[in-house]
């Protein structure tokens, strides 16, 4: 029973990780229809940022790296958007393949720059230990996820740029004719979406390996969260991440890790039978 109860916070903390890795995608995918397979490598970039900052800041690297990684990954995203993706709007499946190519190059680049073996990022000492079954570093990630969601919410609802972003997401043409510079909004969205990947990467150094393959471990899960949550939907992403986290944690608790993954996949297929567009849908009259 105790173990069973313990799974609840564990499930939520898994959900927090899923949310962090998927949040950026929700917006780049939701607003621009870009399926960014290089998102995983932006996460990796965030993790390596923390690794590099260690030389300067020691064990505080994880904290200092949060804003820095946001900028680094965000800039990488911006460059990608400017250099390639903007030519691809309206061809989302092509962006998938394009960004996959980018992700291969970035992986190899990381291997050349940092070496193939994993590197270590030391966690701050005050993150050692925990309450009951929940380590402090999990709580930290949980808090970070909550803070990020609040930040995004505030950005989208309390700033002009955020409102423009929502407008473009809901109706690109209408937004464009209302005088919104959609290209600029796209850039900004891509910057933020990629930056969030960087933040997630920093958080992941606390619990997982930091190496060139880092991104590949998370990308499929991230997309599943987006699919289940609905495009561009903050609340959808939050609920989907929490739901999948809990499902994952209990499925693994009762069976094993392999089966849990299969169960989660089956659940998503079943779920899409009821809600083919994910939890929350932006209503639109668009038709193919």
């Amino acid at each position: 029973m105790e173990a069973f109860l313990n799974q609840l916070p564990i499930g939520l903390s898994i959900g927090a990780v899923l949310l962090l890795i998927a949040l950026g995608l929700t917006f780049t995918f939701g607003q621009m229809g870009v399926i960014n397979m290089a998102h995983g490598e932006f996460i990796m970039a965030g993790a390596y940022t923390a690794y590099l900052l260690q030389d300067l800041t020691g064990r505080m690297a994880v904290i200092v790296a949060l804003p820095v990684a946001f900028l680094v990954a965000g800039l990488m995203g911006l460059i990608l958007e400017r250099a390639a993706i903007r030519h691809f709007y309206g061809r989302p499946l092509d962006t998938l393949l394009l960004t996959w190519g980018v992700s291969l190059v970035l992986q190899q680049l990381a291997r050349d720059l940092f070496g193939a073996p994993n590197v270590q990022v030391q966690a701050p000492t005050w993150l050692q230990g925990g309450i009951a079954s929940l380590p402090y570093n999990r709580l930290f990630i949980f808090g970070l996820a909550v803070a990020t969601v609040i930040g995004i919410w505030a950005y989208m609802n309390r700033t002009g740029a955020g409102r423009r972003m929502q407008a473009v997401m809901q109706n690109r043409q209408l937004a464009a004719v209302s005088g919104i510079n959609t290209a600029r909004v796209d850039q900004r969205t891509f910057f933020i979406g990629s930056g969030l990947a960087g933040v997630a990467g920093v958080a992941l150094t606390l619990i997982g390996p930091v190496g060139p393959a880092l991104g590949t471990y998370y990308i499929v899960d991230a997309f599943l969260v987006v699919v289940a949550g609905g495009l561009g939907q903050l609340r959808g992403a939050v609920i989907a991440a929490a739901g999948l986290g809990l499902l994952n944690s209990y499925a693994e608790f009762w069976s094993d890790a392999s089966l849990a993954k299969v169960i989660v996949f089956a659940a998503i297929i079943a779920f899409l039978q009821f809600r083919p567009q994910g939890l929350f849908v932006l209503r639109s009259r668009a038709l193919t």
Partner: protein, 369 residues
């Protein structure tokens, strides 16, 4: 996209001669075996070309169907080799009795039927489920990708049943022929080449028919097709199942050619690589899919023989370049080059790449009324 049709049967005959006469004479057995392997991938690519290039369904999980076909074949070969005993890997996995799932595969007819029907059935069920709910475009692509990931985990986790990560390997006998013999391998090459050719002709017949037109129409305007009284879900399911069947057949041919089937061949990355190959060859023409698979297969072999580390760079870069500069792939480039050489206004043989999925919805109807 009519590039091949323009050149017509002549080109096809030339390629056939090259594949069936020249290649076996010129290539040493090892290289011929590699070519057979590329052609197995080409069959999968053909299915991808049909589903993606013609039908707009980006299938990122063809490895699953390749695997289903491959394992069906592998299970049969293992049972034949075991001669009534348990297959070797079951012994070291601690399985004491042949699992019920394996028993029917001792029958060659059943095994061969399952090679094609198994993948088609699974694709049909999955297709009906998702297409009826109008899951498409990126959603569909991601789901197929997740399917590949889940399938690999399932295969690996059921070691006693599937051989786990090792997969099935160490086959000796193919319908009474010694698999290690060069003559068997040569015969297999001919089988693979002929099957590839036949499937290509079949696929072309399909694409040229009304059904093919309907498929293109669904790719470019699925909802519009609905208002013509067709159910796109059915059409897409049929095509998805056909492409799955092709992948299954390719998997079954791959097993005796290469001598192994394992989860490493079926996951997210190998499935994506095949899509890449189709894009490189030219996704809007079936010939492009085959060409792409052979070219990329060859490139992978020769470049990784030369410089292993660079292969990822090259593959990634190649892909970025193809997507940004030559979305119609090698065939598209060939067509442009031919037109440029001919110095005449381009004929509308290769129209601009159509929107491949629901993005095209954006340009359509907004309510004004």
């Amino acid at each position: 996209m009519n590039l091949t049709r323009l050149k017509g049967p002549g080109l096809f005959a030339a390629v056939a001669v090259l594949a069936l006469v020249v290649a076996p004479l010129v290539l040493e057995p090892f290289r011929l075996g590699l070519l057979a392997k590329y052609l197995c991938f080409a069959i999968v690519a053909l299915g991808i070309g049909l589903a993606w290039g013609q039908g707009g369904m980006l299938v990122l999980g063809q490895g699953v169907f390749f695997g289903l076909g491959g394992y069906a074949m592998g299970m049969h070969l293992k049972l034949v080799d075991a001669q009534g005993d348990l297959p070797d890997f079951m012994i070291w996995s601690g399985v004491e009795q042949l699992p019920a799932l394996w028993k029917p595969f001792a029958n060659p007819v059943f095994a061969l039927a399952m090679v094609v029907l198994g993948p088609m059935l699974i694709a049909a069920v999955l297709g009906l489920l998702v297409f009826r709910q109008r899951v498409r475009g990126a959603y569909f692509a991601i789901l197929t990708q997740a399917l590949a990931a889940a399938f690999v985990i399932l295969l690996v986790g059921r070691q006693g049943l599937t051989g786990g990560t090792n997969g099935l390997t160490n086959f000796f006998d193919l319908f009474g022929q010694d698999l290690a013999a060069d003559s068997t391998q040569r015969g297999l090459y001919f089988v693979v080449a002929i099957v590839t050719g036949l499937l290509y002709l079949g696929a072309r017949q399909l694409v040229g028919s009304r059904f093919g037109r309907l498929l293109v129409a669904i790719r470019d305007g699925e909802d519009r097709v609905r208002f013509l009284g067709y159910d796109p879900a059915r059409v897409k399911t049929v095509v998805f199942a056909i492409s799955a069947g092709m992948a299954g057949l390719a998997g079954a041919l791959f097993v005796p050619v290469v001598g192994i089937i394992s989860p490493a061949l079926l996951g997210v990355v190998p499935s994506l690589e095949l899509v890449v190959a189709v894009a490189v060859g030219g996704r809007f023409a079936l010939a492009g899919a085959i060409l792409g698979a052979v070219v990329m297969g060859y490139a992978k072999t020769s470049f990784s023989e030369q410089f292993a580390d660079g292969w990822l760079y090259l593959q990634g870069e190649l892909f970025i370049l193809v997507m940004t500069l030559a979305p119609k792939g090698i065939l598209g480039l060939a067509a442009s080059a031919r037109d440029a050489l001919a110095r005449r206004p381009r004929r509308p043989t290769a129209p601009k790449p159509p929107p491949t999925d629901d993005a095209s919805g954006r340009r359509v109807m907004e309510e004004v009324g």
